[in-house]
Symmetry: C2
Subunit: 186 residues, 2 copies
Amino acid sequence: MSSRNRIESVAHQTVQKSGLKNLSFRTLGAEVGVKSSSVHYHFPEKSDLGGALIQRYRQSLATTLAEIDDASPNAYDAIKLFSKLFTQECSEGKICFAGMLAAEVEFLNESNREGLQAIFNMYHTWLLDQLNQAGDELKIDLPTPTVAHLLLASLEGALLIDRAHPTNDRLSSVNILIDSWFGKIN
Amino acid sequence: MSSRNRIESVAHQTVQKSGLKNLSFRTLGAEVGVKSSSVHYHFPEKSDLGGALIQRYRQSLATTLAEIDDASPNAYDAIKLFSKLFTQECSEGKICFAGMLAAEVEFLNESNREGLQAIFNMYHTWLLDQLNQAGDELKIDLPTPTVAHLLLASLEGALLIDRAHPTNDRLSSVNILIDSWFGKIN
DNA sequence: GTCTATACCCGGATAGAC
DNA sequence: GTCTATCCGGGTATAGAC
């Protein structure tokens, strides 16, 4: 893999652990095996690195969501798979990439903020799409946009709190909620 | 107000905006009108300041929750009031104090982490208590601990995302969810 | 309790050789 | 594309005067 790609890959995981503001070009370089000046060669300023990570994630997310869509015969399976993948990105002290950036939105420039919003829009649009196709699979009367917002918010919050409070109580509660919405409980 | 108290008050809000790791004794002092060495006089290390803020918040939270309890004739009112106060602490680019600390849990020492967990426990215990007293006010069949976890997680996530995505879509969705759980919709 | 002064470190960023 | 060397700013923290 090119060193630029390796930098991006390590940086992405570092952001999930400690955020972009607290990521250092020096230690990032050390983890990849180059000097900080080499990192600056690829990403002149930190906001350039941030922009590249956001872009990269948007593309990979688009692919992932399309794959889930293809692999799922119905909305329930799709959303359960979404929740599973969303969670799997976050083992070992990591939280959602977009969630971490949201926590440090104060330190992002305009362009990076817009990229972050685009990620959240992507999540929401996809979820909404699934819910709108669910038909009578969905056993509740809330508007689908509301349900989509709730899904994303509860997943983000669950990952956040569960990392600080190492039981998976919040995350499994979200999964129970999804099951109940699709009539898989009671 | 004593300068120690003023420091704590300003620091608390700064944490809600940009976190504890990115809070600087220098600029904190400047905002309060003293030098950084004076801040160090009261809080030798940053973890001491963190500990004081956590302690302070725990106490104020205990008081607040007790007051909501007293002021609310039923579980629905109590929880709506909870959601309202939880939100009001977070105007102007701020998010939940505990949520922000959870995002930077990597940088907290053991003692501060335990204090943070105690805050989340306090939220959860109080919510659970309300739900357990709700009786047939509650129109859903999920276990009350699950509901309490979901309430907290969705509120945290909603505040987080809504700050980055300046509509209040997530927060108002949580309020709709609460209404539906108590049969105030449909 | 607050100040000045200072030590020390680490971060971002750049210049210029290879 | 990567390196060494370097500058600068800002952060934590401490010593010692008032």
